[in-house]
Symmetry: C2
Subunit: 429 residues, 2 copies
């Protein structure tokens, strides 16, 4: 019997470190079972989990009602309560998303590269699961199922640590999910939820090198910052999305208006939203781009030349160039060509997504080559920075680190590889 | 003028953190120049560096003589002095190795994957350099040129921190290397050597997240352990090479004798050397395998059943199963089939390289699939675990971590990727 099924009643019996160690050992043991499963096995397990989530609608919504009641009593904001709230439609969406992940191609077993050496040794690099993934998240209970589905689809076990506001919802979702897995013979510890809200457990997870292989934080900036600051386990994350759009001298005026409006205003609260607009002095339609944003209700904070474009543009402070507003606010600077635009982006980008609008192929290719961000775009809205939009089927997150996986990360980013060497008795000379 | 050329005279003027920050800023600026170079540019720069190393033979050997004299005065061991010593032939070998790296294919710019979305967006993932690589190493001066060549070939700047025993040699090699780069217009700060032996600088490098993108320790276990324990920057390394060879019931007896002898005794001090031998009870020739190793001068430490194979086998303690001897010593256990062999390896392997000797295809494939190590082998000596032997042309190291790159790491492991998105005005619905 694993901790997951025994401990919920008495989690205080173990220190945070001992608790994480025990959960990790159970998870790793379950992962060794997962690692042997076929594509079809894993897909069937996830479909069973989706079915179990649908069948548990009553329990899950009841658990969620407890969380909502507790949240209202605690005075959570309307936005927080909305993120927390489940209803039949949202739960159906969660189950459907699990089914969708079941339908994604399995990256495990893919031969990344192979070669034969002159001595006859046959080498191949083969994709394998990473192992045990830790997910640290806040109030959205859908993450419990979403993240678990992506981890399990790629053969990883998952250790979930959700926010205290969603504790009943998360336990109910995990229980249903695990019940589904059990119907096809998968160990319950493949998906575990930390059975206590003791915040010290988060610290123990972050330092559990060798026990947890990778941690993905899902939530606001303060959560991600804490995880990045304290983790000794590799972290897949982005802290900021300070995304730039540079409108080149040659840009099509209509396209520039449409793309800047979309990049900023479609949804202002997502990490791919534009936060700084760079207008080329040689672009003749800057006034109409600025007016379009202002007319749509966006506050603009500009340098002196941007302020001269429209009296409604407020003055920008130095801080504005490094601010992720996540709101209908935009910093605007006028730049003297692509070189200063690249310099501004190099100095202020958070290396998430930066875009150029241009009709000049050479400038486009230069921007794509020289901007050092996880995602670089030509003539497209930065709001496309998303695993679904990139055709990955889903995403566990967007990463702005430089190693392992960058940009939208889905199943492939949850795998690593090993070298398989097939010989016929070769000794090394 | 960079720190590299100004600071050697007065490194004490800056705190370790400020020194590393300044070196890193210079290195990152140089890397932005490197990132724009073509394959041919980088190859030419390395060939110029190789030429400069040959031309500086006098200065480099003179500097090395100072290190040797200081080492002898300090009472360094013969083995240490041997690692430190350069002569004309060794220096020629170092220059030749730089030329060889120049001849390797450039991974930068490779399109890893591309796709077109239904909305017409064209996506590609393109290989790019990682950025600034820190190398922390001990007494081998050849690492100065070897590691720098691999980093630069893949478009990365490098910050080297060598051992104090090799300080004069390292400075002379770096100066010659940089002089070669300068002849083709590359910035000197592309290859920097920490200009002080203050050990606190190592700590500052290890915590320079955001300034140094990856650290590769090159040296003994205590160096690697310290780097892994203290680093906040991603580390590419292996701590141990506790490599197993399992001789299956069906193994060819001659092959088993040859491969175990080679895996252990070819060179006992390398990380791919076998440290534990697992003999199947059903393998009929265990006595001759054991005798072959003993006769070759290897000390064997066995469990009770291994001791019964030959009176010369000493008793093993629990510790022996987790020991990397790097010497003519081997732990030997007798196991009841593949299942206990896999269990022993799962419990004791350092996930570096593990091998099976078998004539049974099913057991071979099971071993390849289930052993969770960076390198898994069938019917080959674990001493093949090496970038050169794997056809990579060189190696910056062997990694046993689970993310980014595993096993022998060469140029590809020194790259990451970005997403390039080419649109025609797409806004996100």
């Amino acid at each position: 019997m694993t901790l997951q099924s025994t401990l919920i009643a008495e989690p205080a019996a173990l220190s945070p470190e001992a608790l994480v160690e025990q959960l990790a050992r159970d998870g790793r043991a379950a992962q060794r079972v997962l690692a042997k499963l076929t594509d079809a096995d894993k897909a069937a397990a996830l479909r069973a989990a989706a079915t179990a989530l649908r069948e548990a609608e009553g329990e899950i919504l009841e658990a969620n009602a407890k969380d909502i009641a507790a949240g209202e009593a605690k005075g959570l904001s309307g936005a927080m309560l909305d993120r927390l709230r489940l209803d039949a439609a949202r739960l159906a969406g969660i189950a459907d998303a699990v089914d969708q992940v079941a339908g994604l191609p399995d990256p495990v077993g893919e031969v990344i590269a192979s070669s034969e050496r002159p001595n006859g040794l046959k080498l191949s690099r083969v994709r394998i699961p990473i192992g045990l993934i830790g997910i640290i998240y806040e109030s959205r209970p859908n993450v419990t199922a979403d993240a678990a589905a992506l981890c399990l689809r790629s053969g990883n076990a998952v250790l979930l640590r959700g926010g205290s506001e969603a504790i009943h919802s998360n336990h109910a979702i995990r229980a249903a999910f695990a019940k589904g897995l059990a119907t096809v013979g998968l160990p319950e510890a493949a998906i575990q939820l930390v059975p206590t809200q003791d915040r010290a457990v988060v610290g123990a997870m972050l330092t559990a090198a060798g026990l947890i292989d990778m941690i993905v934080p899902r939530g606001g900036k303060s959560l991600v910052a804490r995880v990045q600051a304290d983790a000794r386990v590799p972290v897949l994350a982005h802290l900021d999305g300070i995304c730039h759009t540079y409108v080149h001298a040659s840009a099509d005026a209509g396209m520039a208006r449409d793309l800047t409006l979309n990049a900023k205003m479609r949804r202002t609260g997502i990490c791919g939203a534009m936060e700084t607009l760079l207008l080329d002095t040689q672009f003749p339609e800057s006034e109409s781009v600025v007016a379009g944003l202002l007319d749509a209700g966006c506050e603009l904070r500009g340098d002196a030349r941007a302020q001269a474009l429209d009296p409604r543009v407020l003055p920008a402070s130095e801080e504005d160039w490094d601010t992720e507003y996540l709101d209908a606010v935009l910093a605007v600077a006028v730049v003297d060509g692509i070189e200063p635009a690249l310099e501004h982006i190099a100095a202020h980008s958070s290396h998430h997504t930066d875009a150029i609008v241009t009709e000049d192929a050479e400038s486009a290719e230069r921007f794509l080559a020289e901007v050092d961000s996880a995602i670089v775009m030509v003539n497209a809205s930065s709001q496309f920075a998303d695993g679904g939009e990139f055709g990955l089927g889903a995403e566990i997150g967007i990463a702005t680190g430089r190693l392992h996986a960058r940009g939208p990360v889905a199943l492939e980013g949850l795998t690593t590889y090993k070298w398989q060497v097939r010989g016929t008795g070769q000794a090394r000379p």
